[in-house]
């Protein structure tokens, strides 16, 4: 009798399980959009599998930059292999003499993935939406200098600026979306964000949340048709799993950590692309949170006592380059500046010159009763930055500087109130973009409250200068001044490492990438699979 009951319980359990799995299956298919390709019919031969460190949370280019944006979307402009803006959907553009009016002609043969034509209205809508205060976009900052966007005629568009902004052309690489998809909808919550329609070489098939993104070639793409038929981006946040799946051939391309390069290179089926990035790490000095850095000699001493070669060799395993200017990967790079090569003696001398000495014998320098002591903050989730902070604190101890390292969660960090912070910055595009807002007194991202008259002047001048030679001269002076009166202690640029199966070809090896190797897919339509 007991056994009968037990059996009944077990049986009902099995039945519940059956019902639940049944539900699971149904829900699974109904919540995804039906495309022509299903997971089962994908052929590995014409499918590129990318093992992604990060996945996009939504697919609306107006709301933020997307990891896979260049596949789905295209903008008025694009960038070439030298990171210079060039026309994409725009056919040509004119700039007024006062640098405030940009007039664009656009192509009339561009189709969205839903078959509708791309019009000037769509472009106007895209830019205006990003500028809208109520839209939760991380790109709004990029367009704050835009005054208005207007349609002139069916193929002409005019953008008026509040003040000259040379980086505008880079910003106009933002993907254009079809305005009709958003009629009467809240942009922040639109269905489009999960089921995107763009005009890029690939169209969206489906996205299994947090796991897989499927894209397939768009045959009506206005440019060169993509050579690879399908792309699958699979979510692999763990770097060990990424390297493992690369070695087994499960993924064709993936982002690697420096420690994995050797093993991937030993495998005859895979290779490593080592791509330069404009992504640098530095220590930001805060001029408001503490008075210590008002004295330029203190900052210079800290810069001299930074062993950049050692950081590159140990913390990033040699895959980086010592940094000395924010424009090192830009055409306006100036090499003739103080590069602060490692020199502890010089650093000590500078501090002594400034009147710092250890009067009470506790190992920490002091002056007028004030100790040379500050806190260096780094985001705890970023191992490289935390390692840099602890390493530098040790190095600076040799000078008698008491630097405490504070590794905090991003949510607990307010950069403008940190005495010093391990900052990550840099973009491969126009020189104005990541200098003006960082180093001018009123700059929106001048978190350390740095202020230097010459820097303000030359950066403002560079912004309104058309002649490239003159601009170069401005940026040269900027870099020299910044080196003498450092706002940051530049540490190093980080190399992006991509492991790829040998069957993939067409990856450009010279393009300068962004943060964490962002931008590798810029020429995806030219990639091939053997």
């Amino acid at each position: 009798m007991v056994w009968k009951r037990v059996a009944a319980v077990l049986l009902s359990g099995v039945m519940t399980l059956g019902i639940l799995t049944g539900c699971g299956g149904e829900n699974g298919t109904s919540s995804t959009v039906q495309g022509q390709t299903s997971a089962e019919s994908l052929d590995q031969k014409d499918t590129l599998v990318y093992g992604a460190e990060f996945m996009d949370d939504q697919f609306n280019p107006m709301l933020g930059s997307l990891y896979f944006g260049s596949m789905l979307f295209r903008g008025l402009m694009t960038t070439d292999e030298n990171c210079k803006p060039k026309c994409d959907i725009a056919t040509k553009y004119e700039v007024s003499d006062d640098l405030l009016e940009y007039t664009f002609q656009i192509r009339d043969d561009v189709k969205f993935h839903d078959g509708t034509d791309l019009t000037v209205e769509d472009v106007v809508f895209t830019i205006q939406t990003v500028m809208d205060e109520t839209v939760n976009s991380s790109l709004r900052e990029d367009f704050t200098l835009v005054d208005k966007v207007e349609k002139e005629d069916d193929t002409t568009l005019k953008i008026t600026l509040k003040e000259p902004f040379p980086a505008l052309l880079d910003k106009l690489t933002i993907g254009i979306v079809p305005a009709h998809c958003f009629e009467g909808q809240d942009i922040n919550k639109a269905d489009f964000n999960q089921h995107p329609i763009g005009c890029g070489p690939y169209k969206f098939v489906r996205y299994e949340t947090d796991s897989k993104l499927l894209l397939t070639r768009f045959d009506d793409y206005y440019g060169d048709k993509a050579k690879i038929k399908n792309i699958v981006c699979t979510n692999l946040p763990d770097y060990n799993v990424r390297a493992l799946q690369l070695s087994t051939g499960e993924v064709d391309l993936t982002y690697l950590e420096p420690s994995q390069v050797e093993k991937v290179e030993q495998n005859t089926d895979t290779m490593v692309y080592k791509l330069d990035t404009a992504d640098y790490r530095c220590v930001m000095f805060n001029f408001k949170a503490t008075d210590l850095f008002q004295d330029v000699k203190v900052r210079q001493a800290l810069c001299y006592a930074t062993n950049r070669e050692a950081v590159v060799n140990s913390i990033v395993h040699g895959y980086g380059e010592a940094a000395y200017t924010p424009l090192q990967r830009n055409t306006f790079r100036e090499e003739d500046v103080e590069q602060y090569s490692y020199d502890v003696e010089k650093a000590k001398a500078l501090l002594a010159e400034a009147g710092w000495k250890d009067s009470d014998g506790d190992g920490v320098l002091d002056r007028n009763g004030e100790k040379l002591s500050f806190t260096l903050t780094a985001p705890v989730s970023d191992e490289v930055r935390v390692n840099m902070a602890t390493y530098l604190a040790e190095e600076w101890k040799k000078l008698g500087v008491d630097c405490k390292v504070d590794a905090l969660d991003w949510n607990a960090i307010d950069i403008p109130s940190c005495e010093a912070f391990v900052l990550g910055w840099g973009s491969p595009f126009d020189a104005d973009n990541d200098t003006y807002r960082l180093f001018t007194t009123e700059g929106s991202a001048n978190y350390g409250f740095y202020s230097n008259k010459t820097v303000d002047e030359v950066l403002k001048k560079a912004r309104i200068t058309v002649d490239q030679k003159e601009r170069k001269a401005c940026y040269a002076e900027f870099q020299k001044t910044l080196a003498e009166d450092p706002a940051y202690d530049f540490i190093c640029y980080i190399t992006a490492l991509y492991g790829a199966n040998n069957r993939v070809s067409g990856i450009n090896e010279t393009k300068i990438l962004g943060h964490h190797g962002a931008g590798i897919f810029w020429n995806i339509e030219r990639w091939e699979l053997k």
Partner: protein, 303 residues
Amino acid sequence: MMSIFAFALINAAPGDPAAAIYGGQMDKLTQEERDRINTNLGLDQPVFTRYFHWMEEVVSGRLGNSYANGKSVNTILAERLPNTLLLFAVSFLVTVILSMALGLWAGLHPNSVLDRGITVTGIVLNGIPGVLVAISLIFVFSVQLGLLPSSGTGSIFSGGIGDHLRHLLLPVVTIVFSHVGSFSRFIQEGIKEEWNSYYVTVARANHVSRGDLYKGVMKNALVPFINYVGTHVPAFFSGFVVVETVFAYPGLGNMIVNAIPIKDYPVLMGGILITGLVVILSMLAVDLIDLALNPKLRKSVTE
């Protein structure tokens, strides 16, 4: 009650949805932008106002939209709940069946190798944190042997039920590992206790057959076990938070973990609400089973 407590707790924790919107570009988030986004999301309003607004929506069946990606929470839950329920059903059943088999055998064979083995391993298994088990399993079966997938719910090219089960295997083993020890020990102890009780001694003295004795003892030992299992249902769900995160399994636990640091209220509250509901329903189911098995209880209910 639960929702008020949860809401207050989330409110007290640090974090910011603007951080989610900026993602990897946190260095570029200025204070003005942070304030603007928070105002758009209504986070500048007092916590009570926000709570009542949320309650209003819930009553009308809408759980709001995620702050991070604007997706409707109802849709998100519909995607994830089946995955978690599947994981729960499989791991729960395997745990119960396995521990019943082990516990009964050990309890009926006192001082056998299995009996002593269960006592020791039960205590040990109970003490090992699930995250350690999970990482060890990944290390051995995925990294070293390359036999089983370490994350997700299905591979790209194979697909099908077999593939799905392969992905389910390691998470299920992890959960079973952390519960089977204490479960089987409970049965084992129960059987032993019954076996040594007065009525068994009397029955044995009166030459009641061994088979009949076993039946009676098992039945009496199972009733408290079912209650014990019932009280452990919430423990299963809290375990999923760890297991789903380690195995990147797209379920409720993983979703909640991702939503916490960015204070994604709608997603968090939706997740807590649905988990609470599922836990209450499963406990109800256990009570009903208990009722079916326990004549004493049945009598007290019907009378």
